[in-house]
Symmetry: C2
Subunit: 429 residues, 2 copies
């Protein structure tokens, strides 16, 4: 079968999926969850083979960590499938309903996007998450996973194909050249979601006419305001940096109001000590780190544009919330930025003026995640301003149609002398 025919089959299977009821699609998910549970030894075996091979190939520890699919990760992935199954159906939701004129009713209703093309990195549990979201939202899904996880991914895929009758809407690609084919399948894929390195995401954006959703960088900032509660500030900044530094929602930059700097910086430093965090400190914060036992170096401008993805951070003292907001506008990747403050006015200003997908107050940037947000799961995090922004769950996989039902109305009646007038009455509460 040629490539185009394969892609067309996915599109057709997605249409069949869309003709099922939400209950039927949720039942498919529960069946899939049970099949993963029953076949877990088979999955672990495949994963161990992948890990063994990766070990021989000498992949990094961070990548190895993501590759592992053990009892606890599989259990939480299976929980995720059940959680997606229990989410409200994102389809056929009437967003607007308006009486245009007698007998002429307009509705704006949600429908599946169509077919999603997803390229993801080492984590095989991402496959489970993404397939669940695609099935629940009645979209076709074409997946290309990282080669390190190829055996785990193909095992998961086999289990899905064995279990589900309607699994034709799911397709797993295996060869690297499939990515370039995917980027060219304009008529068959409605949205590309690349999850991978900054460079890879940009490569996708530059080489396709299909819309791409995702994020390239995750340069997240926590700003500690003048009136921040010190315990909160230390906890939030520490968690944002160290809880999982390889994640895109980990903080890279800490901004500190000058009035808080003398108290906050030494306290924060002593909290970081046990983790061995390297601090790139600007001129004003440097002297306040004299007792820090970890590594400190003078920050250069580039450090504030760097996504460290490791136990390193950049730190800067600012004169005002205005300077903090300007710094974020200039340096942040508009992913997640947080303020620690007790001042409601400053919180409001930060919420209104920081133009990022996620804007937080008094909590860790690490909450930026579809599961934590209550979306059931996420296909990724979007830093684009169009369509879906931030963690993208089921809603981001839908589009809308305008449905207009009449009984013979024509536009000529609304023009010229004796023209009819539109009523334009909203019918939704």
């Amino acid at each position: 079968m040629d490539k185009e025919a394969e892609y067309r089959n996915v599109r057709n299977a997605a249409l069949r999926l869309a003709s099922l009821s939400d209950e039927e699609r949720s039942a498919m998910l529960l069946k899939m969850a049970a099949a993963f549970e029953e076949n877990k030894e088979r999955i672990f075996r495949a994963n161990r083979e992948d890990i063994e091979k990766a070990g021989k190939d000498g992949i990094s520890n961070a990548l190895l960590h993501r590759l592992v699919l053990d009892e606890s990760k599989l259990a939480s992935a299976i929980e995720g499938v059940k959680s997606v199954a229990s989410q409200k159906c994102p389809l056929h939701e009437v967003r607007e309903k308006r009486l245009l004129d007698e007998g002429l009713v307009l509705e704006k209703v949600t429908f599946p996007l169509g077919v999603i093309g997803m390229v993801f990195e080492a984590r095989p549990d991402a496959l489970i998450q993404i397939v669940s979201l695609a099935i629940k939202s009645a979209n076709g899904i074409i997946l290309k996973g990282g080669k390190e996880a190829s055996l785990t991914n193909s095992t998961l895929y086999e289990i899905i194909r064995e279990t589900l009758d309607g699994a034709g809407s799911v397709m797993l690609l295996s060869s690297h050249s499939d990515v370039d084919t995917m980027l060219k399948m304009e008529g068959y894929i409605d949205l590309i979601i690349p999850r991978g390195s900054n460079k890879f995401v940009r490569y996708c954006m530059d080489n396709t006419h299909i819309p791409v959703m995702g994020h390239a960088d995750g340069i997240c900032t926590v700003y500690v305001d003048s009136c921040a509660d010190m315990d909160t500030a230390v906890n939030v900044c520490t968690d944002s940096k160290v809880q999982y530094p390889a994640a895109c929602n980990a903080a890279e930059t800490i901004l500190v109001h000058k009035d808080a700097a003398e108290t906050f910086i030494p306290l924060f430093a002593s909290s970081l000590e046990q983790y061995g965090v390297t601090i790139h400190a600007d001129e004003r914060s440097l002297p306040l780190l004299k007792d820090y036992s970890g590594k400190v170096m003078k920050a250069c401008e580039d450090d504030f544009h760097t996504e460290f993805l490791s136990l390193e951070l950049a730190m800067k003292v600012v004169d005002s919330i205005d300077e903090a907001i300007s710094h974020i506008a200039e340096h942040s990747s508009h992913h997640t930025d947080a303020i620690v403050t007790c001042d409601d006015t400053n919180r409001e200003r930060f919420f209104n003026e920081v133009d990022s997908a996620d804007v937080f107050s008094n909590c860790s940037t690490r909450f930026a995640d579809g599961y934590r947000f209550g979306l059931g799961a996420e296909v990724g995090i979007s830093t684009g301003k169009l369509h879906a922004r931030g963690p993208v769950g089921l809603e981001g996989l839908t589009t809308t149609k305008w449905l207009l039902s009449g009984n013979g109305q024509i536009v000529r009646s609304y023009t010229g002398r004796d023209a009819r007038h539109f009523i334009h009455k909203d019918l939704l509460p």
Copy 2:
């Protein structure tokens, strides 16, 4: 001032606009409407000069028709400004609100997109419409109008600048090379909306990294089902074709169920006679047009892919609603497609299976328009499936942010033994 500084000024002015209240922005619009009214003779004078020049340059009648801004068109444009002013504010709308855990509240809230770059064709009244939508939604707007309307556009722009204090958020460009500059201003423009020829829209899409919203083609179809009411079918098809054939929402193709063909086609043909419509008829419809006094020719496959934008149409007899839906999937530009039917099951199938921005039953395709839909006005019609689809009014000019307010929550508390559990309780009705 260099180009980049000019664009930066628009962005900053848009931020100031966003800090005003909705009442203040609506008051700006009413002031602008009054200024157009007061200065109408000045506007008409400029427009007459444009028309005179265009006449000498020998532009087409269709273009000339769009260029005219006379008493009635200005009056309806001014009405449009007032209608936009009276729309519900599209900003700070809470789309989701969820208690993640005690004291940790997540909201998804609408905000302005930022700065819109708009390139539009001859119609100067489009400038008025677009500026109103941008001001109401607190977006900056950078406009490049057609050169035929340059004097009219610059006069409208002068009036806006003279009238509004906060008018820095509006910028009119005049030189053709400004379009290429605009396409490169990635950091300063959030969305490009090109309105113009198919070729021009594709040029924009191919030459920018900024998201582009719009439509290239408008190949709209009306399908007359087996059980259609004949009067309705004739009226709807005639209006869809002839009411304003140069519009993107005019019908180009008429599909007829075989059981309706013998009755419908002669009736429809006699309704078209007075307009002198040329019919490209397939083999099965051709014999049913033997009494038609207008021009008839045998349709070729290309005719069903053609946006005639004039008094021409393609006609085809189909065996079933399935064939009609497949034909639309293959040939439509996913703009607006309509069914005429008395069968609710077929209407539902058409609504569910036709994957277009606007799907209508028993009414004219010409209703696909922001004003007629009750959106106040439109910046354009999108055939993309992401973000806004169909006529785009105020809502399409917004984005959302996720705002998370806590009191010191960190992610570490939700991991490991004794992990806290999320509550995930929806707080909106």
